[in-house]
């Protein structure tokens, strides 16, 4: 297949793959807007949080903290903790974006969410290189726009929103992350990294906090993958690098 055809096919798959993420983003953006309204956020405040922080888990937590009367310092410290997992995404992107100009990487970083990372990394892996069209599609079209528009709709429309769990929208995020992880498992090392990361993540998440679980699974899983003997096909690949 020609390079151009491969890029086109992978982009088409990315667009189709992102449809579930878009639906999920709409559902939970609406719920976030509604929760923010309930905690006394104005549309401007809720919208600013979605645009500036752009991290669903931390935003939901912040609504709870504000409602619970936490100090701003407490909210900010907990936000830093919950969002520390993004450093793993940024590090994993290094091999793909290292040749891009610094200002470009600085802008790109703001949009590096769970969903943008998962969708675009799968796209990059299919192509064996970065394709920034794919990143911007995943980050802006599939994530930023639905999340921000749905936030505003939720905070303005309020209580007329049905619970997205009724439609099963709450399972789209874990299903999509699991599905994209399966797509990235191309050998024994990836399999060990994924399974051990998930196991460690759940154990640490239960013992301490899910945010710590993501960091533990994302840091230790790859280490265990690295010390695993590669499968026969992987040996050749490694030797060729």
């Amino acid at each position: 297949m020609l390079e151009r055809d491969a890029v086109r096919a992978s982009r088409r798959r990315l667009v189709i793959d992102s449809l579930g993420i878009i639906a999920s983003g709409w559902g939970f953006g609406l719920v976030y807007g509604l929760a923010a309204r309930g905690a006394g956020f104005s549309p401007l405040e809720a919208g600013a949080m979605s645009a500036v922080v752009f991290a669903g888990a931390a935003q939901f937590a912040a609504v709870g903290y504000v409602l619970g009367g936490f100090s701003w310092l407490g909210v900010v410290v907990l936000t830093a903790f919950v969002n520390a997992r993004h450093a793993l995404y940024s590090a994993a992107f290094v091999p793909y974006v290292a040749d891009k100009p610094l200002p470009y990487r600085a802008v790109l970083a703001h949009f590096l969410t769970d969903e943008a990372f998962a969708l675009s990394l799968a796209h990059f892996r299919r192509l064996g290189r970065a394709d920034m069209w794919g990143f911007w599609w995943a980050a802006i079209v599939a994530d930023f726009i639905p999340w921000n528009l749905a936030t505003l709709a939720g905070v303005i429309v309020g209580g007329q929103i049905p619970d997205p769990n009724i439609y099963g929208l709450d399972v789209i995020f874990p299903a999509a992350m699991a599905g994209l992880a399966v797509g990235l498992v191309t050998g024994r090392r990836e399999l060990v990294a994924a399974i051990s990361g998930a196991t460690i993540g759940v154990a640490v998440g239960l013992a301490w906090d899910p945010a710590a679980g993501v960091l533990a699974g994302g840091l230790i899983g790859p280490l265990l993958g690295l010390v695993t003997a590669p499968g026969p096909g992987e040996r050749g690949e490694e030797a060729a690098r």
Binding site: A48, A61, V66, N83, P174, A175, A181, L184, A198
Partner: protein
């Protein structure tokens, strides 16, 4: 319209951005040794599997107490994984997962 929380949003953004940006912006980061690049290639599957497992098996209450959770999310995610392993695509997998959860809840099974 209240603007009191705009400062909080800005501060939250300020502490979120470094974790997204710093690893990509460190000078010379592209000259990593091969072993480090191998490690970074394994971060994707590990962190995505961890996110999926935590979102499926761990619940957090309003006071951030965690609990192990077994529910309809498990079969829903498994259906998605099986469909993707059978090369049916992510959209088919996520739609099937949502349908499993929605139908089970509508039927009072979850």
């Amino acid at each position: 319209m209240s603007t009191d929380l705009l400062g909080l949003a800005l501060l939250m953004g300020l502490v979120t951005y470094p974790s997204r940006a710093l690893p990509m912006l460190i000078p010379g980061i592209h000259r990593l040794p091969a072993r480090a690049l191998d490690y970074l290639r394994l971060v994707g599957p590990a962190v995505l599997a961890t996110l999926a497992a935590l979102a499926t098996a761990v619940t957090v209450d309003d006071e951030r107490r965690t609990a192990f959770h077994v529910g309809i999310e498990w079969p829903a995610v498994i259906v998605c994984v099986v469909l993707i392993a059978a090369r049916r695509g992510l959209l088919v997998g996520t739609v099937a997962a949502a349908v499993v959860a929605a139908v089970a809840r509508a039927a009072g099974l979850a």
